[in-house]
């Protein structure tokens, strides 16, 4: 019997702890499939963040670290400097990367570290139960902005891809989403390009993946996908923000 499809060997058999409708499962699989297709056995080290994907070390089937909140790019820097031939990636959420870890991500990009960051932006703190993030949209309700985020009080949501594309040494920055089949395919291609650039010795790459959080947004998974399309994508436009390899 012909095998038409099988689970990638770069995911363990551990059952995900993610909520129903969460996009982490899709994104994990894309990352794992790309690694699998690159034939890098024994040469992959991932770094999990603090946030919903704190247990990513239990899911990605390779050498893994669990970093302090926001520090994954610094940890990945240490790993890559010591193990230059490895594919080193961080997997971080928006509380981790866009709030407490801004110094680490900006300076990893600034140094042109040869690492890749998968930045999952769902506009909220998931793990701690739905607090406002720097990426929370204007008017979006969260447990620490129950009346909805106001520009007057909290400023406008931060745009990390645009910001990091402006850092001179960043190499490849793209924002994708996983809300449709077409977008999932584009997301996988972006991750594959970033990983390929790293193994060619190019500089810092980040793929921002817009993601839903049905639980903390208070929506069904289907409503959440619609909300992402109607609210997140207009504010966080998809596309390539920087690609030195294409220049």
């Amino acid at each position: 019997m012909a095998v038409l499809f099988e689970k990638t060997k770069y995911l363990t058999d551990k059952q995900f702890h993610y909520c129903p409708g969460c996009n982490h499962g899709i994104i994990h699989r894309l990352v794992a499939e790309v690694i699998d297709e690159m034939n890098l056995d024994g040469k992959v080290i991932g770094v999990a963040p603090v946030g919903c994907s704190v247990f990513a070390y239990d899911y990605f089937n390779c050498d893994m670290y669990e970093a302090a909140h926001g520090r994954a790019p610094a940890v990945a820097t240490g790993i890559k400097r010591a193990a230059k031939d490895r594919l080193v990636f961080t997997y971080q959420g928006d509380g981790d990367l866009a709030s407490i870890g801004t110094a680490e991500i900006v300076h990893a990009a600034h140094r042109g570290e040869k690492i890749c960051t998968i930045f999952v932006n769902n506009a909220i703190y998931g793990m701690t139960g739905g607090q406002m993030a720097p990426t929370t949209l204007i008017g979006q309700k969260a447990t620490t902005c129950p009346a909805g985020r106001s520009e007057e009080w909290s400023g406008l949501p931060i745009k990390m891809s645009e910001m990091l594309a402006a850092v001179p040494s960043s190499y490849y920055i793209e924002r994708v989403a996983v809300n449709t089949t077409a977008n999932i395919n584009k997301a996988k291609k972006a991750i594959a390009k970033a990983f390929k650039y790293q193994m060619e010795g190019k500089g810092f790459c980040m793929i921002e993946v817009l993601s839903t959080c049905p639980t903390n947004w208070g929506m069904s998974p289907v409503e959440a996908m619609k909300w992402l399309e109607e609210n997140m994508i207009p504010y966080y436009p998809l596309g390539v923000y920087k690609d030195k390899g294409a220049e």
Binding site: Y65, A68, K80, A82
Partner: protein, 359 residues
Amino acid sequence: MALTLMKGSEAIAEAAIRAGARYFFGYPITPQTEIPEYMSARMPEVDGCFLQAESEVAAINMVYGAAGTGARVITSSSSPGVSLKQEGISYCAGAMVPAVIINVMRGGPGLGNIQASQGDYFQGVKGGGNGDYHLLTFAPASVQEAIDLMMIAYDKAEKYRIPVLFLADGIIAQMMEPVELPEMVDYKIDPEQKPWACTGWKPGDDPAKRGIINSIYIDTESLAVHNDELQAMYKEVVANEQMWEEFNCENADYIITAFGTVARIAKSAITELKAQGINVGLVRPITVWPFPYDAIRKVVDQPSVKAVLDVELNEGQMLEDVKLAINGTKEVDFFGHCGSQMPTTAEIVTKILSMKEGK
């Protein structure tokens, strides 16, 4: 072997390289900036890596990353910078990542000053970061001793999987002394020796051997098991790794306790007091964690000993451990300065004389 005149900070850096360190991550801060400066020139000569991080927070996390691959890694800073490193130090301790951290102590709290201090004793030996952990903590009293301790630091760190802290006052880093440098150690990462490290596991290999550098144990049972393992390791360190120096202790009338540079000044005071017919001894902890409680207790228990004087360049931090060691059996007095005014030989002599006169 020929002696070389070297500044403490540069000697510490060179010793680390000779002990096999090939990765340095740090951030400039007085009075230890000569360490990163030296490393920036020296590391490329040995195919190593010097990286100036954006902050001390990032630097210690780079240490966590590099050391998790099995490499020998070092970072250095001074008091306010070491405060910033505490988060990462706690993670290294929790994940049992061996590494070497240098604290060239300056005056505090806050920005304090840039002169020598011993004000970070509590921070170094009583925690510093969150959770139940310890660091194997060396307090060198000379440049040569700092070198010698560095040559055993990585072996100890790797044997127990414990981070090692050098608690050195600013004098140790800033003074020049004639030293003998050891031979270069030929260190190579051996996955057999470091089965916990991320050295190239692949799918299909034994899942139990996958490298996972981690300090989270989310359910109470597994965290309890992990902490029991840590505590068992700390017990072994306490049993095997205490180091101290005794000077003129036999049948002494008074015992001085001091660490680092202050202990050398205390020795001068002891020599002067001897000339006046007063017999004073010194116990100098070289490891301040594990603390040599039993050694101090044994010396102080001598019937000849009337009282103990603890001298520090702070307001009395090690004093608490000295009191725990003696446990109320003899009187313990304290002399010290904060604000980085080094206690002088004359001050220590005067203090002992006043104790003798019962003042």
